[in-house]
């Protein structure tokens, strides 16, 4: 049987590991402390403000591809097939597309045609409006697309993306738990694997996500989860609660 995935998500600005909350850099931690053997998958995101792929970020991607033998997905600022090809050559297995779909929905289609739909994850950053409905934000939460998460996910999957990564940006770094309503609304409607991101504070949050939403993977951006001991303890917690997990 297919196991639920526990995914580490790392955010970098100009090659420095960031905690997502308010995007403050945390110089105490570097890529080197991340345990590479217990995580089921690793997501690397670049938030540097730039017009092209950040060189230091590519070095980070290379470091992970040389040192860990688990799948790596990378994204942040991908604008062209040239960026995509460079990332695959550097060692990623899947690329993560987000804001570029706003201006150029064809990019996802092109990637899935060349590399297969399993090679594309579409990340969807959502925000709850005062009226209680959700809207999709792009460009690191700066632009409101006025699309609902479902409509946006429709565009992404129709263009051939293989997985959806759903995040409520207000929960990001809150440690208060995932937005289960939002994530459930997507897992319920779409047939591709869905990953939940944003808000993991403890193992119970991850358990609730798996139990309630039927996601394929839970992403954590909480740096205190990145060590061998804590990932192992997360996995034994989930296993005790009958979640099918890789040990």
């Amino acid at each position: 049987m297919l196991k639920k995935r526990l995914i580490i998500s790392l955010t970098f600005n100009d090659g420095i590991l960031f905690r997502t909350k308010k995007f403050h850099p945390d110089y105490r931690y570097t890529k080197n402390f991340v345990d590479l053997w217990t995580a089921d998958e690793i997501i690397l995101l670049d938030v540097s403000k730039k017009n092209k792929l950040n060189k230091k970020f590519l070095e980070i991607v290379k470091y992970f591809s040389l040192n860990c033998f688990v799948p790596i997905s990378a994204g942040g600022g991908i604008k062209s097939m040239k960026d995509v090809s460079l990332l695959f050559k550097t060692g990623v297995d899947k690329v993560i597309i987000n804001s570029s779909t706003y201006k150029n929905p064809n990019l996802v289609k092109k990637i899935s045609k060349s590399y297969g739909s399993q090679a594309v994850i579409h990340s969807i950053d959502c925000k709850k409006k005062p009226d209680g409905n959700y809207t999709v934000m792009v460009n690191n939460g700066r632009i409101d697309t006025n699309y609902s998460p479902t409509d946006w996910a429709n565009i992404a999957t129709e263009n051939g993306c293989g997985e959806l990564l759903i995040n409520n940006i207000d929960n990001d770094g809150s440690l208060l738990g995932y937005d289960l309503d939002l994530i459930f609304s997507i897992t319920n409607k779409f047939d591709c694997p869905v990953l939940g991101l944003g808000g993991a504070g403890n193992w119970e949050h991850i358990y609730q996500l798996f139990k309630i939403t039927n996601v394929s993977g839970a992403c954590t951006q909480n740096i205190y989860h990145f060590t061998n001991e804590s990932l192992k303890s997360a996995k034994s917690y989930l296993k005790n609660k009958q979640i099918l997990i890789r040990e």
């Binding site: 688990v70 297969g116 591709c192």
Partner: protein, 202 residues
């Protein structure tokens, strides 16, 4: 001479496979044309992308003929992921395309009630013994990433099955032709062991 010749037609991620071989101290050479291949090396056929596009690239470079010739000369070949699918007769990915036909079988889109693509860690259950799984426990987890799978096949050639709604062949062996639907280069210790086995025992 290198232990392994890796087929390189310029698409996808070969970096992970190369770093896995480096980790195992196995020498390898990336082969872009037929002239790059060496006489006594084993061949690894990795693959990313769509079936037809990949076959076209092999055909343009005449690498398809070379692989068949090597197999006939009893050299061992290991296909990984799309490279596994290419070993069979044909696939229906973006139209009907012929494969290398080294093993009889057809590749079709996963058409189940399960989520597609099949992504993540799943178990390989032994159907028979093979050197390729030497020192790997039954029911070990490997990383899968695919939307198409082997639908018709000969059970006697199936090394392991994996369950994803149905049981499908996740690895195969026909004499000196080996194939794995999962990514050994992404499957940590078990995956490295499979690669090691291919080089040392197959």
């Amino acid at each position: 001479m290198a232990d392994i010749n890796i087929v390189d037609v310029g698409i996808g991620n070969l970096a992970s496979l190369c770093s896995a071989l480096q980790k195992l101290n196995i020498s390898f050479k990336l082969c872009e044309t037929t002239n790059d291949f060496q006489n006594n090396s084993k061949i690894i056929l990795p693959g990313v992308g769509a079936f037809g596009n990949f076959m076209k690239k092999l055909n343009e470079r005449k690498i398809d003929e070379l692989i068949i010739e090597k197999v006939n000369k009893k050299k061992s070949v290991l296909g990984i992921c799309l490279g596994f699918q290419i070993l069979f007769s044909d696939s229906t990915e973006y139209g009907k395309h012929k494969g290398l036909n080294l093993i009889k079988g057809n590749i079709i889109k996963i058409n189940l009630s399960t989520r597609v693509p099949h992504v993540g860690w799943n178990e390989c259950v032994f159907n028979q013994n093979s050197e390729i799984f030497h020192n790997v426990k039954n029911h070990s987890d490997f990383y899968f990433l695919h939307s198409y799978f082997l639908e018709t096949y000969n059970n006697e050639e199936v090394v392991t099955y994996t369950n994803y709604g149905i049981n499908f062949p996740s690895s195969i062996q026909k004499e000196n032709v080996f194939g794995v639907q999962f990514h050994p280069e992404k499957s940590q210790y078990n995956g490295l062991q499979v690669i090691k086995n291919f080089v040392e025992r197959c």
